[in-house]
Structure formats: structure tokens, C-alpha cells
Symmetry: D2
Subunit: 351 residues, 4 copies
Amino acid sequence: MKGFAMLGIGKTGWIEKERPECGPMDAICKPLALAPCTSDVHTVWEGAIGDRHGLILGHEGIGEVVEVGSLVKDFKPGDRVIIPAITPDWNSVEAQGGFSMHSGGMLRGWKFSNIKDGMFGEFFHVNDADGNMALLPEGMDLAAATMLSDMVPTGFHGAELADVQYGDRVAVIGIGPVGLMGVAGAALRGAAEIYAVGSRPNCIKVAKEYGATYIINYKEGDIVKQVLELTKGKGADKVIIAGGDNDTFDQAIRMLKPAGRIGNINYLGFGDYINIPRVEWGVGMGHKVITGGLMPGGRLRMEKLALLIHNKKLDTSKLVTHKFNGFENVEKALLLMKDKPADLIKPVVIL
Amino acid sequence: MKGFAMLGIGKTGWIEKERPECGPMDAICKPLALAPCTSDVHTVWEGAIGDRHGLILGHEGIGEVVEVGSLVKDFKPGDRVIIPAITPDWNSVEAQGGFSMHSGGMLRGWKFSNIKDGMFGEFFHVNDADGNMALLPEGMDLAAATMLSDMVPTGFHGAELADVQYGDRVAVIGIGPVGLMGVAGAALRGAAEIYAVGSRPNCIKVAKEYGATYIINYKEGDIVKQVLELTKGKGADKVIIAGGDNDTFDQAIRMLKPAGRIGNINYLGFGDYINIPRVEWGVGMGHKVITGGLMPGGRLRMEKLALLIHNKKLDTSKLVTHKFNGFENVEKALLLMKDKPADLIKPVVIL
Amino acid sequence: MKGFAMLGIGKTGWIEKERPECGPMDAICKPLALAPCTSDVHTVWEGAIGDRHGLILGHEGIGEVVEVGSLVKDFKPGDRVIIPAITPDWNSVEAQGGFSMHSGGMLRGWKFSNIKDGMFGEFFHVNDADGNMALLPEGMDLAAATMLSDMVPTGFHGAELADVQYGDRVAVIGIGPVGLMGVAGAALRGAAEIYAVGSRPNCIKVAKEYGATYIINYKEGDIVKQVLELTKGKGADKVIIAGGDNDTFDQAIRMLKPAGRIGNINYLGFGDYINIPRVEWGVGMGHKVITGGLMPGGRLRMEKLALLIHNKKLDTSKLVTHKFNGFENVEKALLLMKDKPADLIKPVVIL
Amino acid sequence: MKGFAMLGIGKTGWIEKERPECGPMDAICKPLALAPCTSDVHTVWEGAIGDRHGLILGHEGIGEVVEVGSLVKDFKPGDRVIIPAITPDWNSVEAQGGFSMHSGGMLRGWKFSNIKDGMFGEFFHVNDADGNMALLPEGMDLAAATMLSDMVPTGFHGAELADVQYGDRVAVIGIGPVGLMGVAGAALRGAAEIYAVGSRPNCIKVAKEYGATYIINYKEGDIVKQVLELTKGKGADKVIIAGGDNDTFDQAIRMLKPAGRIGNINYLGFGDYINIPRVEWGVGMGHKVITGGLMPGGRLRMEKLALLIHNKKLDTSKLVTHKFNGFENVEKALLLMKDKPADLIKPVVIL
């Protein structure tokens, strides 16, 4: 079969590979819709997971089941399914402890285009099909549904990590597609005032539609100062970090109330340390909680988030700014994600 | 001063009383807007808190501060303030333990028109002004703001007690004004599918606007069966009880998934026991959590909920179906609440 | 192979059966130590799970692995393992939602001697071996370890359901082996004062050793009154129910503080309803949380609880009052459990 | 009245001051037992809270009430009371939000010897007496009780912040008196294996008595490596930081499992930043929660922790290595705390 792969750091191309084999718990799917992710860009051009040769990329997609293993109970060939970017081993001790995304080791619930081939192939393999696939609800738009693999669960997890509650003032730093889902996720947990930090006009427009109350643009001054002014010096109750780098945590701590929480969902690719400012962190005793986590994957999560779209509580179509038709355009879509033109939020390829 | 009071079980009328005195921590306010509550109806016509003679009614209102005690730091005469129905003693051990509404004993955080005179007087007394009042945001509509005293915090507490999470299927039993806020509160915590149980056309219309996905009408069959059908036999993830009686818990358990939660915010006025069906409760081991609680009051809660209205995340004006002008109409508004005409959700009196 | 089985309601006996087959994820074990449970008594003599013919009993035991399926990674023949009473399907949506004991439906994580043969056979089958077995730590006493299958996780879950916190006053109703583990579990979560409700002298002695501060004996008066007296009328912070019947909930609510919690771990075998007293439950608004749940099983739980015994934080040997040698004594042990002589807490059979 | 005070950075001495005045909510006490704290040492010799002239030191003590304000309901002159180091304003929005220690601003619940005179005077002032004092249980040893003001609640809060659960492997870094209470607190929340990091022989001895399973001595090699070896490379489930400096967080992250938690209770006096190692923190997505917090004070907490001592669940007398008699010895006790002789854990002065 054909697949679009990483050939080495900085290099991509089409390769031929064997169709993956299906174990007793697994499924083989063919893609119906695919989306490239900034993580694919990190993987190829930043060497985020190391050098790889012939690793098929992609971990966001909707598929059609073509084969299932003998122990699979709930799916059959022909089913149209949502596949999450994170597909844990559900019987691992980590999953039993509530953190399936770290099954088998830190971040090891992430398998597609990391420890096995991704979805940008004519066929792809899903481990633990019953545990990791969800039926695509009838009539759901494929492009909008593709956002369920990673953008929605990652962004919403930011709001969970930050533990947004009714009436909170929440800063969301970074309003790319994940940050926009952080904004939507904060609004859907009852945030009363959302400070969206970003500067790209198309993202600002969509951030407001998802519930941002104020836009904080770093070009108009220190973002910490802007948040403190809007909160009359008190700071935000919660901060979701969906962009920036190690230094963003310094800003986040400074704009955060005592007993606030930082929920990071941004991949940190460079540098040795994240620096937490001692005094603003309350000399160690300010109850400012710092956490960050890979999205929860698996079937239940997909089913629940899909229901939000199905019942029109969430409109992910706003994220999809570029649509392509045909498997061969996966390459074009990925390069678009790499080059980030001004009008891009997220491209999707329909097959 | 004049006040509209309970004169005995089943009897109300205007009385003359001394203006309340202001302790060092307290404030005296005059009402700017008032609303009667179903609880006032329970108090007078069902003797819910026992027989009372000359107890001024009312615990929902917006006021203007006319006097503050010597220890009050954050308020001064002339301030326009939201006053919650529940005004705890914040230094009590119960409040320290996280349950201020039970400060001094179960439900004893409820003081207005219960253990002291309520708000339907020319003046009323607020204990612990700094802890229990919140500034009315600039430009907020008085009638809409009055819903902050009780309707919003009670309804939203239902969604908190039921612990609504992203993608949940939530049944809300009862869609009077509190239940409608239960619907809105569930939607604002990320419920994906809301089954609103009710039959009054005006409430149904507003329930849908607040986020109800399906309306369950008891006239169209057993409500448990209807919910089970809509959930393909699985049951709802969570149930908010905002109406009905002791038997409603039986229905709630039957329509609830294992490991689901029931959050009750309905006053139970009659009968000796609430009956929990043994088998459907998992012979004691189904992890179906049953709880119910008086709303959290106090300043922080009012500030947070007011911000939701201020930033247009929540529109309480939909609840206000009847508006009166003039203090003297408090009586008319209360009788309306008692008689519940078909077009009523909630009346407000503007002074 | 031989097995000791339920032959019909009220009837037990030895039967011959095929050795169970081992699926790809599974293991076959032979027992090293076994214990009968009150649930076995309910099953046989009360028909708790319906009539069954030829169902091998038993769900508490330590075993030696004799065969593993092709997908099992962490165990091999010869390993000595702890097997929990509850062996969930870890990839089910229920397990993903945090309630593995209800995988596949309410209480369906309980498989041994319920929906498949139990452990009282020459061999028994463990579904999802990697997910549901734990290595027996070196040098651990077999009889003491057998308490890990059910007694420890069930009793400790009571303290979790009741959410015992530092300094709490906790009532534990029922001090059979499960209730005794409720006492130990409450003590190990920081309870400051434990009211153990029971009357059997040997259990009272052990309850004190596990941390009970006061013994409440129903023969000395109303147990509610006794708890209220000891708490100066305030009531207990938490109640763990590990015995009694439906009416015990009435007592538990009456002895519980507002905002307290009831954690039930007792199987309720009879009656239609559990009756919750309306007024003492705060007319629906007292925040007295009522919950109950089947123990969490699985590997992680077994590993964690075993470590407590291994490091001498918990001594389960106090529970084992009767020890037998030889498989054939399983019958005698079960009858002992049924007849409950005065000196019995828990019998174990070593093979 | 006389008081022992900070006269400037690095200088202490006895001063004369007016007896403090008693507001309507307050109490005036005279000390019965006092203990100096490492924080007093930080205050005087490290200038931790800035330069102060004539600030009476001390925030750990047991007192006798000599005067109460007109609004105080539950205490009267002659009562013997425990006074916590942290005495919040309970009606503040921060306390209403669950973080009373930050009432009025980050860490501002700490008033004694910080924003007002401390307890090392002939008399001292307690704000909000009903909210911040607890009756000393009959017969409790004064020296042991003095540990309730700060050592117990601070150490135990470490175990709460780290969210220790049944069966956890917990590292406690630092085993001075606070760290020892971290060990005891972890044991009392069900930790199965405790790695106590320290090197002083007397502290090691007591750490074992409080429940430490292994002692990790930095003199015997890298502490991270030692913890990883003991946990077979998996890392600890939780880390309590009760000593060290900014760099300790780097070690803590490295010895911590994915999805683990760090609870810091150590005052961080120097340096600009706490450095979190990026890769070991899971490139931002490892769910390793970092938090730290000032102890919760107030009456309820004191009552609950006192009950643990009263019922012999906790023996704080092990901490008290040096006992003095007479108010004048406060100076000697403080200097002992500063000089830390090998046999010191905690000195107490009985008056």
C-alpha cells in the first residue's frame, strides 16, 4: 500500500509498505478524512521524536473499518469510525490509575506516527478497536468530525486541567486550532470572561465566536500587564497554555491569582528548563497549580465529544479553513500546516 | 417601616416594624428590585418552616446600601448590591469545611424570611455585609439581576451536585425557573444532551433556548421509559431534580446509569421517606450517587454568576415573564407565584 | 477437573467439569489459597444472583499461573498471583469512565462465581491476565494475602466512598471482615475517631486493634443515639455501611452531619426500597451524600494494597480465624461462613 | 507588656509594647506554651518578609483567653485554646473560594509575626476568635499540642497537596519537623512505601517511627537515582517537598511518575526561578502536577488535628526534643532553632 511518510528529519515523501496486520483485538481501517497536525510538523522538521525513516505520518482522521480481529465485539467492516490521536492500552496499570495516555510509559498512549505508522496510508492499524474507536454519528460532516481526533480533546483537556468553573476568568494563551478549542472548552465549562491571547486576525475572529471576551495581543504591550489591568490587578482564575514556549509559564504565573491553575496543552520542544518565578509563585506556597497533559483518547471520550457536535453544542467547522479532495493532497495539506499562511487554521483532506 | 409578612399559616399582609439594626459587620439595605419565590409559597401556605407571625417574607432582591457597620470594609451607603438568598456565617466551622449554607446547623445559612425578616420590607438587614453582598455590575438590568439571588445559584448548583461533565447526557426533572437554570447550568458545564422533563408550553420554549435537546412530557408516557429510549437503554449520565416529590427519586434512579449522579435542588415538603429502589440502585453497589443541597450563597458566588450575565454568557431575562412597578405590588407578585398561571415563570417587582 | 459448586438454590456439591479454556488475553491458574465469602452464602442460600446449576463458587484466592494466552505480556506459568474478586473488561466504556466494576453493565465486572465459574476448582480462568492479576510479593503469607481479593479492597472502598479525611469522626456500621477493613481503611485515611457498630466479642477486639475508638453495641441502646451522644449531638462526619439492611440507611442518615457522606459496601438482598428519612436528609438539601459501590478490582489495585501488607502498614492476618489445609476443605470453610460460629471472622483454605 | 521581637534584620531583643486591643470579633490571649519556628529564623536572619523594627515574633502556641470581643460567641476568658499560625479573614472572597490562607492576598492569612505582632508577648491578639481558635482538649500535653499551630497542619498539607492515596509510594524530601509531619501525614493517608530523604540521625530515627519505609541519604549518592532504584525505575507516585531549595524541584520531577504530584510545603527564600526540567516533565504533557501551599489554618482544622492527637492516632511528642520553662527562655529556644544542634528537632517553652 501507499503511505505519506517521514523519510528523515526535514524530509517527507510517498512510500510503499505492507498493509498492517490485524491482531485479535485490533482493526484495520482505510481513511475517509485526514488532517495534518502541528505535531506532524514537529516530528518531521524539528525531529521532536527523533530521526525516523519510513514512518507514515498522521494521527487525525475518520476511517472506514475494513477488518477486525477475532476478539472485537462492537465493530465490523463497513463501519465509519472516529479514531483518536491517542489510542491507549486500556489494561495497563497507568490506564487503571486514570491516565491512559501514559499507558506503558510517559506519553506512550500516543502511537500513531510515533511508535507505529500513522493514518496517512491507504490502510492503518488501530490497536484495541473496541477501546479506541467510536462510531461516527449519522450525518456528521467529515471535515468537522476530523477535529475530534486531536483538536477538540486536546483543547478541552486544557480547560479540564485548568479546572474551569462557573464564573471564572480564564486566560487562553495561543489561539491556533488547539487554543481555539481551549477557548470553546473554557466557555463550555462556564467561564465568565475569557482572555484570548493571539494576534492572527482569522483566529481572533473565530476566538470571539467561540466565546473569547477580550483579545490580548502581544503587539499592544505586555500580555501579563494587559490581563492584570482587565482583572483590576487580581489576575485570572485559570490559565490555559496552548502556545508559546518555556517562557510562557513565567507569564502565566504572573497573570494568575493565588490558588489558580495552569493547564498546559502545548508541546514544549526546546530548552532544558521551564522557569517558574519564585516570588510570584508565592515563595512555594501560593497554591498556584502547574500541570500539563496529553489529551485523553479512547472510545468514550470520542463518543462524548462527538455528541456535543451532533447536538450542535460545538461547531468545529469553524476550524476548517482549507479543504482538499483526494489522498494525494495529504502532502499539500501538511506543507500548508508547516507554512501557516495567514488565513490558515486547519486543513482537512477528504478521500 | 412597612413590610409584607406572613401573619400565620395561610395568611399574609402588610405590617409595621422597627427598621432593623445594623451590627458592626452588617449592612442595612433598601430594596431596588424584589422577587417572590416558591419557597415563600411553601413558607406561607404549606407551613414549611412552621407557623410564624409577623415574619417579613422575601429572599430574592437587589438593594441599595443605606447603612454599614463599623467593620465593613468594602461597601458604603449608596452602593447597589446583589444579595443572595443564603447569607452564611463565614467563620463557622461548617463554612470552613466548605458548606457555608449549613453554617450553624443544617440549612441555617438560610436566614431571610426564615430565622429573621426577609427582604420585602422598606429596609432589610444583611449579616456580614463584606461576605454576603456583591456590587451590581454597571448597567445590569434589575429584573434580570434579581434572578441571581436564588434562581441561578440554585439551578447551577444542581449541575454541580450532579457533576455534569463534557459530553454528558443529563436529565433535568422539572422546568420551573429553578429547573430552567438547571438546564442552563448543565449546558454551561458541557452537557451534550439534555432531557428536560416538563409540560408547560412557555417553560418548554425557554428550556429549549437554554439548551434542552429533548422535552420529556409525562403526558406522553412514563418519563423513565422515555429517557431510556432516548439513551438506547443505557440511561442518563446525570439527573438534576428540580421538581416533583419524594417519588421522583425512584424515577431518577431508574433512568440513571451505573456510576451516575443525582443532584437534587428541590425542596421536599411532605412524606416521611424518600424511597430508593434497591435493585436499580445496584443492590447497594451501583455507584449511583444521591445528593441534594441548598445553594451556596455569599459574595464570591454572586460576583462570579453576575459576571456570566454581564458578559452575556447567560440571559436570565428569559425567566422574567411578569414585571411590576412599586413596592405595593410585592403582594400581587407573591399571589401570582402561588397561583402559577400558565404564562408565568417568574415575576419581579421593580421599586 | 473437580470443582465445588452451587447445584441449585440451597444446594452445593462437588462436580466434574472441563478445564476452562484460555483466550489470547487470559490466564489459567490453579489455586494456592482460597477463601469463601459471605457473597457465596448469598449466592447459594439466598439465591442472590438467581438459580444456578453447576456454577463453581469462590472469588477470593491466590493462584499459580499454569497457562497464559498469546497476548499476555507480564505473566508466565509458575508465577504466583493475587486475583481480585472483580476482574473488569478494561477497554469497556465504563472502565474508561473510571468505573471498571460496572464494565459491560451494572456490577458486571464481577465475573467469578457469577457469570462464569469461580475459583473453587482445580483450575480457574482469569480474563485479561495483564489487567487483572498481580504478582504475589515474595514472602507474603498466603492466608493473609487471600484477604486482598475482596475483604481489603471492599472495606477500603467504603472509606473512599465516604471520603474520609484527616480528623474525621467516622461511624462504621457492621464489623464482620469487610467492616473491619472499613475500620482499618478509615484509620489509614486519617480518621480521628471511629465508632465501630457491632456486638461480637472477637470482632470488637479486632476492631479496636484496627483503630476503632468506640464500640457501639445495639444491645446497649439505639445506635443513632449513641453516636449522637459521642459527637455531642453533631453527628459523625462520615458513615461506612458494612452490614445491616435497608433500614440501616435510615440510621446512617440520622447519625450523619450535614454535608456528610455515606459509603455503602454492603450487599442489600431484600426489600423493594431503601428509605431515606426526608427531614433528617435536610428536606432534600442537606448535602448528605448517599453512595455505595462494588469494590474496584484489577491489577493496579491489587499491587497497591499488597504493598501495604508487604510493608506492614496493614495486617490482614487478624482476619483469618480459621485455617484449613487441602482443597477438599473448601466445603467445610464455606459451611463455616454460612453458620458463623462466635469465633469466626474469616476462614482460609491453603492448598 | 513585654515581648520578644525582631529589632532589624539579624537582630532580636526584648521590647515593651502596649497590650493589643480587642475588636468585637477578636480575643486577647496570654501564652501557655510557645515554640519558635524556622520561619522566625527566616524572618530575622534572612529578612524573608523584609526589614522590621519591633515586630514581636512567634506564631506557634497554646494560650489562655483573657478577653473576648462583643461578637465572640464560643469562647470566654479562662478557656485554654490552640491558636494556628494562619488566622484567615473567613468572610474574604479567597476563603469563600476554599483558600482562606490567601485571604486578602497571597499568603495574607499569615498574620502573626508578619503583618501584626506574634505570640512571643505577654499577651497576643487573635483576629476572628470564633473562626480561628480551638479549645484545647482536656488533658492534652501542652508541648505536644503546640505542634498543632504549624508543624502538623503544614506537614499534613503536604500529603494533601500531593494527594496521597492508598498504596502510594511517596518520597518526602526533608525530614525536619515539618517533613516528619509530612511522613506522618503520608502514612495517615494510606501511603504504602515512604522514602524519607534526610541525613540527621535523630530525624531518621523519628521518620521511621512515623512510617518511613526507606531512608534516602544524599551522602550515599544521588537521591533521584536511589528513589528510581527502589521503585524499579518507575518513580514515586507522589513527592512531598519539605526541605531543600529551588533545585529540589528538578530532583522531584525526575523521581516522579507520569501523572504524579508534587506537594511543596517548603519556603523558598532565594533565587529568581524554580527550574522544571522540560523532558522529564513530559515536554509539557506528562501530567506531573506541581503545587505548593501555605497550610490551612482556622478553627475547624485545629479541632480535627487535635482530635488525632487526643485519640492517639498521632504522637507529636516525638518532635519535641527540647523543653524550656519560663517566658524568658523564648530567646534561648529561638537561638536553638537558628543554630540547629545535632539533637534538635523542635524546642518548646512552657510558661
